[in-house]
Symmetry: C2
Subunit: 221 residues, 2 copies
DNA sequence: CGGAAGGGATTTGTATACAATAACCCCGGC
DNA sequence: GCCGGGGTTATTGTATACAAATCCCTTCCG
């Protein structure tokens, strides 16, 4: 958690997201120690966290591998996230402060700007999107819920490097956010829950479509 | 997570559950190393797991304390558990094999036997109860779901040493299990979900009533 | 008397060496 | 030719020493 450990976490994570390693590939703690420039102790710490986020997995015999997400794994993850995040939206609708609503509006403006550039600034979109959802977790005032969601949300970004969003997808996402804000302003928990549900379910299908079955078609041998 | 680490985890956990330490009390890794008889390295490993299960917490400055659960914390936890476990019950209703149903019936028989002793064998009850729910997680065939639930379910047993169940509470719990099995036999996901929902919600109230507000009324100084 | 600054003691974080375990490879028997 | 055994290598697990951070108590100044 301190400097070396945190740094190792960030570097390994970036390494995984950069696409420099293939899903299913074996890693060793020594390798990661070399890459990160710290000793194995903080590396093991960082690896723990990444296992928790399901970016890394260990075999039954403790060997370390890059996680390989099947289509079903992804659907499962989105389903769980939907369940939890709908709950968060409902709670948030009862609790959001004016300032938080204003922040959501600001983030959504930013998000739209990112979309309307050509080409759309996907990184900026994803950042604003994440911040938007985090305001909601925060407003839900349920630390455990936030903790559970953190795990689920981290995972799918693994594949984002390979993903291409259509501008239509991004715009729909922004419209969802607008409607969520409307539901929040109206303080209507049911509305918020419903919008969040369809928002995430569509996100799942968009995700699957853009990734296709490409994530897992390499020969594991 | 090999021998020393696993052993440290088990010993520390037992130590916490034994009531030998008070909620909010500070612990040091050295102490735990002495208690467990292994070095700090595997202790740190075990501590991380226990932090994850929310039995231990760290202050902002990384010092280690026994977790202190407020009534609201407990309610939050039960709410999340209910949400996830209802989902698990629904999925399980579609997927349970004959063998798994038979196992549930066997566990429930065991559980009833434990109740009808005088005094009721609460430890045996809790073990059978846990095993019962674990069969359901398993049948739900959603690894992530099982992982999330594992975290939530571990936590409340912290206080079980101080808790007294009435025989009526235990019998109602057994009846819930009977009805769950009936829902599973009927392969009715909605029924299973509904029963699980009321089962856990009642469990929450039973828990709060039996613990009272006694969990947190010690002076923190 | 209050409060801030300093310094020793406590506690956590990291590096390194070594131990234990698992994977791999080669070789011999059948 | 293939299957199993034994030793070698690769990889993870643990112990220990030391570094960094934090706490706490004392002291000194206002």
């Amino acid at each position: 958690m301190s400097r070396a450990s945190e740094q190792a976490y960030a570097k390994i994570r970036a390494h995984l997201l950069s696409g420099a390693v293939r899903a299913g590939e074996q890693l060793t703690e020594d390798q990661l120690a070399q890459i990160t420039g710290v000793s194995r102790t903080p590396v093991r710490d960082a690896v723990r966290r990444l296992e928790d986020e399901l970016l890394l997995v260990r075999s039954d015999t403790k060997r370390l591998f890059v996680a390989d997400w099947s289509r079903d794994d992804i659907e499962e993850m989105f389903t769980l996230r939907q369940m939890l995040e709908c709950h968060a939206a409902e709670r948030a609708a009862r609790r959001l402060s004016r300032e938080q609503v204003a922040r959501l509006e600001g983030l959504n403006r930013d998000l739209k700007e990112a979309i309307e550039q050509s080409p759309p600034d996907v990184v900026r979109f994803l950042d604003a999107n994440r911040a938007f959802h985090e305001v909601i977790y925060d407003a839900a005032q349920s630390p455990r819920l936030g903790q559970l969601l953190a795990k689920l949300v981290e995972a799918p970004v693994v594949l984002r490097t390979a993903r291409t969003y259509s501008q239509g997808d991004l715009r729909q996402s922004a419209r969802d956010h607008d409607e969520l804000v409307a539901a929040f302003v109206a303080r209507d928990p049911d509305w918020a829950r419903a919008v969040m549900g369809s928002h995430l379910r569509r996100a799942f299908h968009t995700f699957v479509r853009s990734v296709g079955s490409a994530a897992n078609d390499q020969d594991p041998s």
